[in-house]
Symmetry: C2
Subunit: 343 residues, 2 copies
């Protein structure tokens, strides 16, 4: 089959790789209906993470179950499934506590020689603990939104849950990438009264507004802080979603949080110095991490199927899998927010 | 009147200072029944914080209202009151949200020329927003427990609340000072099933057990982590109370927290590097800070008056105010856990 592989910075190719087969009785093989490119795929693409030449890449997908191992009970061939970005056994204490992203027997999707979401098929370990099937094969127009439940919408949701967004809150989302935009949608869905998106990019501002953002703040740093404090009579935001992961974005997040608020963070921290003294003096919490998208899938899938949310709007580019290299290029150059790939 | 002043490291004296008077209509003057020495008073005592010679020191007290300003409505002369360690207006957005320790018009108790708790009288700003009176003047044996509500018990409670302790949890308390011991008591009161105190000091272990600790771990660092992981089948603690504030104690706290747990911290961070990557990969939160003891006072006061808790057991030394210097010396030398002072 064909699947994306990375060979060097800026060198992603569609390669011939072995067809996946059931290796363990808890495996399933999924025929991929749609995959996509994640902001985090751009780190190796840009050479910011080490690359093992020839590694698979991509960890988001939806598809049809092709084959299942002997022990798989919850999905069957023909089911349309969303595949979270990590495979989890579903039975360890961390999974049972709703933190499948910290499963004691976690297996990555994509990377190394693990099948990823940018390909034709994928072997998925721990099928019962990982896959969530729709009640029936969905209409094609629902595919983008369902695909976001693999990672980006679940991650935005995790930011909002971690920040303890409540109905009536004023919420600020730091970061206007696809995850930040989904964070806006999550906060709105949780009943936030005012949702502020920090964004200076017009196309992203538009999606934020489509998702229900009530305010857009185009400033950054001190000016962004001042704008939020003005909006909140000097008190600060009830909840802040940190969806970037840089030291500057963390600084902004803590500077705009009100006393007692929680910063929910889902951007992998890069060179971040957490301001422990500020947290202490103002009682600001920090919570979040690798999103357990599997935990949120049933709830969010229902919301997508009923039309309550349409997170698929984050995709502003759709390409055939054969053009995967172009997809990376356009996301790297910020010509696309998020690129959907169809095998 | 007489009150404690600090002049240099290891030089605390009882000095003659001006009698407090009502300066603003929102003030009250309190005749101190009992004060005490806080672990945080030892920082300037040891020269770890800068000292302005002649500054007042001490921020915990209970007493009888002597006089009130014209605008004070909630207490009257003769009332027995607990004085939280900061004065808060009770009306700003932060106070209304239950974070009186981040009041927009906060006034410190003790320090500089502000009256403190180690003296005969004290002027307390924002009396209505700060003081909480008992229904009647309590029996003398309740005074130590009521005094802990000024700071140390409210702070231990805040650690447990911030760590989101729930009934049935396994909770670990890092730090066996008076605050850590009160954290044990708080976790037990909140229904934790197993409460582990990290302590190598026999007298503190005994109080921890009296407060309901089910396990004592005398090891530190890696050995402490191993002991907790063994106790929890490798999963880690459901909630961790960080009651020290050093980098090592933070490392221990994060190393023993289970996926999805929150580290509740109330020790002022000194040189702490918060492990953002560990928090991210294991979804461990951090919350806490300067405790809003005022917020917890009504609930904890009820618990003390009904005998549900007896946090006053943390006092293992009682001295007349005249011996305040001896009190500092014995706490500094760890001959006393916490010293109560009677004017």
């Amino acid at each position: 089959m064909r699947a994306a592989t990375i060979h060097a910075p800026f060198d992603v190719r569609l390669s011939e790789v072995p067809d996946p087969v059931i290796e363990k009785p808890t495996d399933a093989v999924v025929k991929i209906v749609a995959g996509c490119i994640c902001g985090s795929d751009l780190w190796p693409y840009r050479g910011e993470n080490a690359i093992t030449p020839g590694s698979r890449i991509g960890h988001e997908m939806v598809g049809l179950v092709e084959e299942i191992g002997a022990d798989v009970r919850t999905v069957r061939p023909g089911d349309f499934v969303v595949v979270p970005f990590v495979a989890s056994d579903g039975t360890c204490p961390n999974c049972l506590a709703g933190y499948q992203s910290v499963c004691q027997n976690i297996v990555g999707i994509g990377g190394g020689q693990h099948d990823g979401g940018q390909g034709e098929y994928a072997r998925i370990p721990w099928a019962d603990g990982t896959l969530v099937a729709t009640p029936e094969v969905p209409d094609d127009e629902l595919v983008p939104s369902l695909l976001t439940l693999s990672d980006v919408m679940g991650t935005g949701w995790h930011a909002a849950r971690s920040a303890r967004v409540r109905a009536g809150d004023t919420v600020v989302v730091v970061g206007d990438g696809a995850v930040g935009l989904c964070g806006v949608l999550a906060a709105v869905r949780m009943g936030a009264e005012r949702v502020v998106a920090l964004s200076r990019h017009e196309p992203r501002q538009k999606i934020a507004r489509d998702f229900g953002a009530t305010h857009i703040v185009a400033e950054r740093g001190d000016a962004a802080r001042d704008a939020i404090l003005e909006l909140t009579d000097g008190v600060g935001a009830d909840a802040v979603l940190e969806c970037v992961g840089t030291d500057q974005s963390f600084r902004t997040a803590f500077a705009i949080a009100r006393a007692g608020a929680t910063v929910g963070f889902v951007g992998i921290p890069h060179g971040v110095e957490v301001p422990a003294r500020t947290m202490f003096s103002r009682n600001i919490g920090l919570a979040g991490g690798v999103a357990p998208t599997r935990a949120y899938l049933p709830e969010l899938m229902k919301d997508v199927l009923t039309g309550a949310i349409e997170p698929g709007l984050v995709f502003d580019q759709e390409l055939p899998l054969a053009d995967v290299a172009d997809g990376y290029k356009s996301m790297h150059e910020r010509r696309a927010i998020k690129t959907l790939l169809r095998p």
